[in-house]
Symmetry: C2
Subunit: 371 residues, 2 copies
Amino acid sequence: MQPFSFEVIKTCAQTGARLGVLHTPHGDIETPCYMPVGTRATVKAMSPRDLLDVDAPIILSNTYHLYLRPGHELVREAGGLHSFMAWPRPILTDSGGFQVFSLGDTNRVYEDGVEFRSHIDGGKHLFTPEKVMQIEQALGADIAMCFDECAPYPSDEPYTKAAMLRTHRWAKRCQQAHTGHDQALFGIVQGGMYASLRIESAKAIADMDFIGNAIGGLSVGEPKGMMYDMLEAMMPFMPPGKPRYLMGVGSPDCLIEGVIRGADMFDCVLQTRIARNGLALTHFGRRMLRNKEFARDFSPIDENCACYACKNFTRAYIRHLIKAKEILAAQLLSIHNIYYTLHCMKEIREAIKEDRLLRLRGEWAARGGMD
Amino acid sequence: MQPFSFEVIKTCAQTGARLGVLHTPHGDIETPCYMPVGTRATVKAMSPRDLLDVDAPIILSNTYHLYLRPGHELVREAGGLHSFMAWPRPILTDSGGFQVFSLGDTNRVYEDGVEFRSHIDGGKHLFTPEKVMQIEQALGADIAMCFDECAPYPSDEPYTKAAMLRTHRWAKRCQQAHTGHDQALFGIVQGGMYASLRIESAKAIADMDFIGNAIGGLSVGEPKGMMYDMLEAMMPFMPPGKPRYLMGVGSPDCLIEGVIRGADMFDCVLQTRIARNGLALTHFGRRMLRNKEFARDFSPIDENCACYACKNFTRAYIRHLIKAKEILAAQLLSIHNIYYTLHCMKEIREAIKEDRLLRLRGEWAARGGMD
C-alpha cells in the first residue's frame, strides 16, 4: 500500500468544496481540515494530550524555527519530530520560505537560495532548496513543503513574476533533492495578487506532479476579497485529485470561504495567538474575555461549545486568570479556540456531505460567527 | 454523619509518624498528605484535570490573593471556590496571616487586626479575625485557617511572645466568628524559634479544641535543624487525635522529616515555582533542565517516574521548550514536580504501613533524593 493517497469522497454540487481523506503514515486526515500550528515543536500552551482530546488530526511545525533551535540534527537524533514532541498523528512542516522573508532580519535572495540572519542571535544562514529538503527530511514530518519565495504584499508584477519563476525552479530542485518515500512533498503555487501569474504558477506546479499542491503568498496583508479572487482564478488549474493546501489561512470566515473555493487544508496561528491575549472565537463572534463586562459572567466562554474549557469554567473565572496573568488562561483559551476551529471544520464537512454548505455560511454570518 | 473527622489508622513504632484519613465534605484525604498550592484559584500551569491525573487529593488556595482579586464576594457568587475553579476535591484556604506580613507593602498590627497595602494597587485594607472568617466562609473551602500573626525570622523573644499571644486571642475570635458547619476551622500554633513558646502555644491552641491544628511560622528562613528542633519540642503537646498541618513546608527532605516528627499535612509552592524556572525534583536530586548537558539527553526527566511528562518527553525536548520560552515547559515540569512530590508522600505512607520509614529516609538520602 502507498504511504500517501488522497481520496475525494464527494464534490459539492453548488460550490467548489470537496470532502476527502488524506492517508499518511501516521493516520488518515478527513478533509477539509484545519491544522493547529506548533511552531517550535509545541502548539503553544497545549500538551499533546490536550491536542488529542480536541481531536486535532494533524499539526504543522516550522522548519525555520526548528532549524535554528534546537537544530534539525538534534530532532533527527531524537527519532524525528513525532518522537521529539510526542505527537502520534500526522505532522506537516513548512519550508521556512515564508519565515526567511518575514522573520529574517535581513535577507538576500540569490538564484541558489536565500541568505538570512537568525532572529535569535543574528547569525548568518543560507537556505537553498537542497538544504531545506535535508532539514525537512531530518525533521521527518509526514508532509514536507517545497522551499519557495513568498513575495510580500504589495509587490509589482515584474518582481512577483520573478519570484514565482524562481519558486518553480526551486520546486524542481526540491523534487530532485527529496529522496525519502515515507514523506510526501507538496509543491507551492505563488503569483502574488496577479490572476494571470496565479494561473501560470498553478499550471507549472501541477505539471511537476507533487503528491499535494499548496497555495502560498496569500493572507499576507491583502484584502480578503482579493484573496478569494485569486483562489477563484487559480483553482480550475489545481489538480482536483490532489489535496490543495491554503497556507497560513484559518480564521473561521476564511476557512469556509476557502473550502467553498476548493481548498482542502488550512493552518493558522490566529487561534493560539489570540488565546494568549484573552480573545476567544465563538459561535457568536470574538469575545475579549479580559473585558470588565465578563467579571461576574458565570456562563461558559461559548454557550454552544463542548470543549473542556467551556464544560468546566466560566467567563468570570477565565477573566480572573487573565487579569492575574495566570498561565491557565492561555491553556484554556487555546484549548477552546483550537476545539472551536476544529468543530467549525467538522460542521463544514457535514454540510458538504448534506449539500448545504452555502446555507451553513449563511447561518454562520447570521449568528456572527464570520467575525 | 459528621462532615469532618480524622482517623489515625496506624502510629509508627519507631518515629512520631502516623497514617490517617481526614474525611471532608469533598472527599477523603489519606495522610500524611502534600497539598499543591493554587494561590489565585489555580495551581500554576496546571488544569484541574492535570491535578486529577496526578491524583492530588486536596489543594490549597490563598485568602489574601483571592480577597484582593477577584474578591471573595465574586467567588461566593460563583458558588464558592470549588465551583469557581472547577476543582471537585477538598480545598484548604490559608488565612492571609502570612501574606499580610510578607507581601503587604507596609503593615501595621493592632489588637483588632492588621492594616496592610495591596501588592496590586497599593490600596489600604484591614484584616481582622472576624473579617478573615467572613472571607474564608465566602470562599467556601473545606478547611479554613485562623487568622494569625507570623513573626519573621529572626525575632526576639518578647516580640515573638507578644505575636503568639495575639495569635491566641485572634484564634478565639476566629472561633466565635466562624459559624459555618460545612467548613472545618484549624487553629495555628506560633512561637517562633523558642521551644518554650512553641509548647505554650501548642497547649493554648489545643485547649481551644479546633478540628485540626496547624504549625505556622516555620520554614521562614531559619536553618532546617532549628525547624526540626521546634517540631520535636512542640509535637507532644499537639493533640494526637487531630490532624497536624505543617504550613508552607514541602521539599522532599522536609516532608519526610516532618512526617517522622508527627506532621500529617503539608503545602509548598516550591514544586510549581521551580518548575517555571526549569528545575525538576527527581529521585536522584534536583535537575536543572535548562543546562546544556541535557541538550541531547533523550532520557526522561526522572528515569524512575511514571508521570505524563516522564512517560512521553525527554530532557532534550524539555530543555528545548525552556530555551524557546514555551509555556509547555512550565506545564510539563509542574506536572512532574507535583506528581513526584505526591509520589514521595505515597512512599512515605507505604513505609509507615510497613514500619520502615527510617529505612526509607536512608534510601532517599543514599540516592540523592533529599537534595
